[in-house]
Amino acid sequence: MDLMDNKVSETNLMVSKYWFGDYSSEGWVVAPSDANSLFERLSHYSLDFMILPSWSDAVSCGFCSDRGEYYEILRDVCILWSQDKIRSYRFSDEARLIKLVLILRETDHMMGRVAEQISMWERMMSPAGSYGDEKPKDDKHWEGNVQQSDGISLLASDIAGMKGSRTRIARDIIYRSEGLLPNSSALIGPLVAARLLAEAGSLARLAQMPASSIQILGAKNAFFSHRSSGSPPPKHGLIFEHKRIHTAKKRVRGRVARTLSASLAIALRIDCYRGQLDPVFLKKANNRIEQAGICA
C-alpha cells in the first residue's frame, strides 16, 4: 500500500478540500471558523480522492490556534451534521411508514400470544370435566366480558380494546402506503407492499432487488433451511399474504408467485424512480398474473 503517503503530492494541481479550508498550489484559502457555515460547506462538496487533514495544518494556515480548538470546532460541525441526518430521517415518509409497519407487526404478535394464553387459562378454569373433551367456544367468548375484576378478565378486555387501535394503525399504513407505493399497492395491496418495504429496509434497496428476491422476501427461515439442509425452497414469502396467491390452486401457486413478483419488481421501480400511478402498466401486469393462475 504505497497510497499511505501522508503528503498530498500529486494533488498539487488540484484543489484539496479540507473541512477547514482549500489547499492548492497557490496556498491556503481558509474557511470561516463558525460551525454552521463550515457544515454548510461540508454538505456542498464531494470528494473523489482521499486526503488526510491534520490539526497542525489548520494551525499553520491560521484557522485555529491549537489542537484543542481544532477538535472542538470539528466536533461541533460533526454534531450539526449528525443532527441534520437525524432530522431528514425523522421527516422522511418512508422511515415513518416502516416504523408503523414494525409497530403493527409487534402489536399483532403480542395480541396473538396474549390472547392464546388467556384462552388457555379460560379453558383451565372452566367447570371440572369439560376440560379436554369440550372444544373452546369461538375466540370472542372472553371479549369485553368482565364478570370478575381479576387480572385476567381486565387483560382480556384490554386486548379487545387494542383491536381498535390496531385497526387505526393499519388504516394509517394503508393510506401512507398508497401514497408512497402507488403501483405496488395496486398490484399486491397496500399492507403487503408496506410490509415488503419494511422487510427490505428502504425503497431504494427494494427497487434494486431482483424479482426472485422479492418473491421470497420474508421467508428467511425457509430459505436458509433450504440452503443449509436442502429442504424444498420456499415458493413465496410475504407476497403469500395477498389473496392472489393464497387463493390460487396449490399446483399453480409457484407460477403465480413468480409472475406476481416479476411484475412487482417493475412496479416497485416505477414507484421508486417515477412515483406515479401507471394504469397502462397495471392493466398489463394484472392480465399477466391472471393468465398465470389459469390451470392448464
Binding site: 500500500m1 504505497d2 497510497l3 499511505m4 503517503d5 501522508n6 478540500k17 479540507y18 473541512w19 461540508l42 464531494s46 470528494l47 473523489d48 480522492f49 482521499m50 486526503i51 488526510l52 487533514p53 491534520s54 490539526w55 477538535y71 470539528l74 466536533r75 460533526c78 454534531i79 451534521w81 449528525s82 443532527q83 441534520d84 441526518k85 437525524i86 430521517y89 425523522r90 422511515a95 436458509f224 440452503r227 443449509s228
Partner: protein, 206 residues
Amino acid sequence: MIWKDGILYTTGKSIKGDRVFGKLRVWPPERSKLAALYYLGVVPDINKTNDFLYLGAASGTTVSFLADYTGIIYAVEIAPEPLFGLLEVVERKKNVIPIPADASKPEIYSSIVSNVDFLYIDIAQRNQAEIAVRNLFFLKSGGYLIMMLKTRSVSAHEDSEKICKETVDIFLKAGMCDFSVTWLEKYHRGHVAIVCRKRFIEKSDE
C-alpha cells in the same frame, strides 16, 4: 486498564444504563465486544494520546467506554436510529466526534479524519474486510487494526474458521502483520476478534 477483582472498569462520566461503583463504570463484556476481547485475549496498550477511527459505532455503548481511555474517537455510523443514542454519548464524552457517513465510502469523511493510531471496525456486513482495507488509509504505520468479525454476516452456511482465515488473508495482502485471533464465543456468538498491525513503511520512503 483498570481491573479490580477480575472486573474491567473505566473512569469517566457515566451513561444511562451503566453499572457504577463509586467513580468506576463497569465495562461489561456481554454488551461490548471490545470488553470481551479484554477478558479473553490481548489488546494493544491504549492511552490518552491514541486517536481512534471507529467504524460502526451503533448507539455508542463501546464508544462511551473506550472514550474514557483514549484521545479523539471518530465514530462513524450511517444508520439514523442509533445516531440518537450516539449523540447522547457525544454530549457526555467531549473527545468523541460523530460522523454520520457510510464506512464503505471513506472519501466522504476523508476531509475530516486525521491520521489515527487505531482502526476499530465492528460492522456486520458481508464485505466488512474490504471496507476495513479501504479505511486503512487513515491508519498510521505501526498502528493497530482491531476488527470484530461476525462470521454469520459474511456467509450463513460456510465454516466460521474458514471465513476467519479468509479475512486474515485479505489483511495479509493489504500489508498487515502481527496477527492475533481471539474467538469471543463465550460472550458474543459467532464473533471473532482479529487484531493486527500495519507495517512500518519508512523503508519505501527512502
